[in-house]
Symmetry: D2
Subunit: 304 residues, 4 copies
């Protein structure tokens, strides 16, 4: 498969969508990103890399980081983790308090905000130096030691993060947060603030595609079965209330972020990352979803 040519063709084909959607602007650091950018990168299990467009420009990965948190939490807790968070699709907006109230503090899945805040709390319990340790894990996954947090992003998020603070307080009320709320939120926002390029992300997701090789990064270890199950959760829960649509259009497990990035995997073959800041009404990158749809249509490679 000539992935380089395919990505080039896709880039051409999606240009008409370049003005569609609206980039996140709730914090200055996201609002000032040039929305005209588009990057994409495939990284295969053979170790080949196919960059396209702005594939080397770092961006805020935001919720994509929740896949890394989940991997670390599963490594520490195994199936015990599922006592504190479910693994069902949410069926409603990603930040809904309604479900959390009805279900008495058990988030519907680890990828909605409530679930990821619980993950942050779990990690704080297990990691000695949470900020350093999480970063080292991500750097090891991506094989790039220059990856870093953006503290400005993290602190603006926290400064205006009333909805997430509401969620954290509701979780605490239901005894599903052990740590101190401010501390948990600080770590949660910091993890979301990691900046990576499409190529970094494609490399960092490859281990989820390549479960025939042992998963062991900076001491975080998962079995092949655990890796597959993370993929299953990406498949059903990775795109907020657009998971069904993404599964229908693209047919790959993946995770999106409000910064405009999407990472996805084609098991046993490759990981792919795409980025473009303008989002659709559900909070997912317009060009990103379009590009991935074209990728699986063109290659006829999907999990189905």
């Amino acid at each position: 498969m000539n992935y380089q040519q395919i990505l080039k063709d896709i880039h051409q084909a999606i240009l008409p969508y370049a003005q569609e959607g609206k980039q996140a602007d709730y914090i200055p650091a996201l609002a000032r990103v040039n929305p005209e950018q588009f990057g994409m990168c495939i990284h295969t299990i053979q170790g080949r890399t196919f960059p396209e467009g702005d594939a080397f420009v770092p961006f805020s990965i935001q919720s994509i980081s929740k896949v890394f948190s989940l991997a670390a939490c599963l490594s520490f807790e195994g199936d015990e983790l599922w006592r504190r968070v479910s693994k069902e699709p949410s069926g409603t907006a990603f930040n809904s308090l309604i479900q959390l109230e009805v279900e008495k503090g058990i988030p519907r899945n680890p990828f909605i905000n409530a679930g990821a805040i619980v993950l942050a709390d779990v990690l704080l319990k297990h990691l000695k130096h949470p900020e350093d340790d999480f970063l080292r894990f991500v750097r090891a996954l991506a094989g790039n030691n220059r990856i870093d947090y953006n503290p400005e992003v993290a602190s603006s998020e926290q400064a205006c993060g009333y909805l997430n603070a509401a969620i954290a307080n509701l979780l605490k009320y239901h005894h599903n947060i052990e740590g101190e709320i401010e501390r948990v939120l600080h770590f949660y926002f910091l993890m979301c603030s990691v900046e990576m390029t499409c190529c970094d992300l494609a490399r960092a997701f490859l281990p989820f595609a390549n479960h025939q090789k042992p998963f062991d990064f900076d001491g975080i270890r998962l079995t092949a079965s655990q890796v597959k199950r993370i993929n299953a959760i990406m498949q059903t829960c990775g795109f907020y209330d657009e998971a069904g649509e993404f599964s229908y259009l693209v047919g790959l497990p993946g995770k999106s972020g409000v910064g405009g990035g999407i990472a996805a995997i084609y098991p046993k073959r490759y990981a792919v990352a795409v980025w473009s800041p303008r989002l659709n009404a559900k909070g997912n990158s317009v060009m990103g979803i379009k590009a991935l749809e074209l990728l699986t249509t063109e290659t006829q490679e999907s999990i189905f």
Copy 2:
């Protein structure tokens, strides 16, 4: 009407219910109150007082204080207030976040927690020395300068008040809190911590029954129409999701608190307060509701 004898008879008649229900125990100061107590007091517009049982024992008035907050807010804001809070019955538990999320940060009424937190924010805007000013208003209503906050109650409430913190953050997210969240919650909990006796409460509610006399207490002024409308809100919203039941059984506007108190008024005749710590499943005093039901049945005096 021989109110003294009637109260005495009621006290006898409700003794069989003395063990029913369960007192609030989410903070130590409420948990250690002797639940065997029962007090009641009628105060008429002629100025006569009819105490019964533990009518002179101070207790935590909790949500009953929301009537005082509402009176002060209406005095400052008039009908502008209703842009920030509705006046419809809630139909669900008093601390539900669901309604608040669906209705985008506008609390259903001023007596659910969300509504009262907005009232606290409004008062902070208008009062120079909020803590002192609110207390002076309550003391003036009750004609008793020894009435005071219980700071221990307020601070234990705040320490475990994750649900109210969730509500306040959700309100702030929807731009319906102007002040700083910690400050608003501090004042909210402090107002709830006021301690009064049944006789204090009956006197403090008399001005709501006696709207033929000008309402003017420590500079807080209301028109007769505003006073009546506060009564209307007590009638439809004063008992959480038991407002219909209370209206059906008792037929008087009133307001209950989780400390086991209830204050009610019979317009143009009297105000009545009752207190007994054990609560039913909806959070209202078992003996209190029973006593008021007997009062209106016995006297055949209700608003209907």
Copy 3:
């Protein structure tokens, strides 16, 4: 009190609102009513009648009939009735299925559609000739033997009544309908189709205001306490999700209908009916509510 002059003044004062709102048009018989009409009538316990405007024009009373159904059901079942229907305000639109599903087939109150469909089922159990018997009861209340159903209205309602059929099926699923669904709905729609004038309605509601006199009409008997409690339910539940607003503005127990009518009572004094077809967004008559607000403001007579 010079009610005749007051009604005349009110009529003048509300003319500016004559074009506001939109009449019900979901069935032809309602759509073709001339919306420019306004009628009002007070009937006092002294037996005096004060008509104003189109007070002698018959209109479709629709949901106002639910007060008559409730009176008959309470007469037959007493407090047993409350095992099948609650008496709390609904807090949501009058035809919501959500509440019914969450609360497992127990309607929130007898005045939302689900509750009134249960009332119809109860009446079918107790009445030998339900259609005739109910009509005789209403005629006896109003003292007018020419009052009748409008079968065209009833059958167009049933023909397009998918939402009510959904409600009835959901009630049946939860075992809260005993009869056959078609039969229950037929009777429900027929009761709603009764046509009365404002003067008929004012007379028919007088017994609810005048509970010092025995309530006994065509064999339907209620105690004074039961009559007062029907008033209490009107107060908290009579105006769909605008019950709080009506209580606040008007301060009288009442019931509205989608035909533009409202009946209300001032206990121990009078009953009042008002009618004008244009409805506000909550389904209540714009001019009707305005007129009643002016009435209680002008007379300073309300239950509060």
Copy 4:
């Protein structure tokens, strides 16, 4: 892969779960099925069949038939279909009216009851002899002309199908049913009443796994892309509110039915059917899910 031996081992391994769960008993025909049965069958794209246990006993496929309906509807309507039904996971119980009311008559996906009732309506529009035509399609898929409806099952379902009647009426209210309600429900229940064996089902699902071969059965044609997308919908929506759990444990697209059957596919390899009547709390076969979990664990073959 020695599927025969694997199925035999699985059968042994799951015997301890034989008494877990509870078979459907809401209609006599389902209640009287011997719950001790367990059948399983794999059918590969090479045409090999691996039966195990009661693999040749016919059972009521119930909701599994919704996959066949969806295939036929997509063939007729293409992506136009998605104007009347979404393709997102429901996140709540399969028969919830709440979502349908909130989302104004657009069912969340084609596999919840509301969605499948819309599918029945769509088919009635396109099929000349709906009952005959649908049956011929299923027979063609399974290559078995003796497959048939069970009219007793269909008529008992309809007789007690108040919840589905409520759903159909709510759909009609929102203009999302074109046909007559009784007619639509009759056809819906009839399609659910089809009886097949595990071996029938495995064969009938093979075309969904084998999308490299043209899909064309009795005139119902789908593109390879459409077939894959049906798989995607099975993956995210095939197990009511247990879709995430099934995806996590099993990792294959599939569809369950309340009769205790589950059909699933491993794309490009095989289709598998399993049946055992006892259901877990979410309405899915206990032994069925366990058997499929063991299958993908043992073979290490899943889509992830």
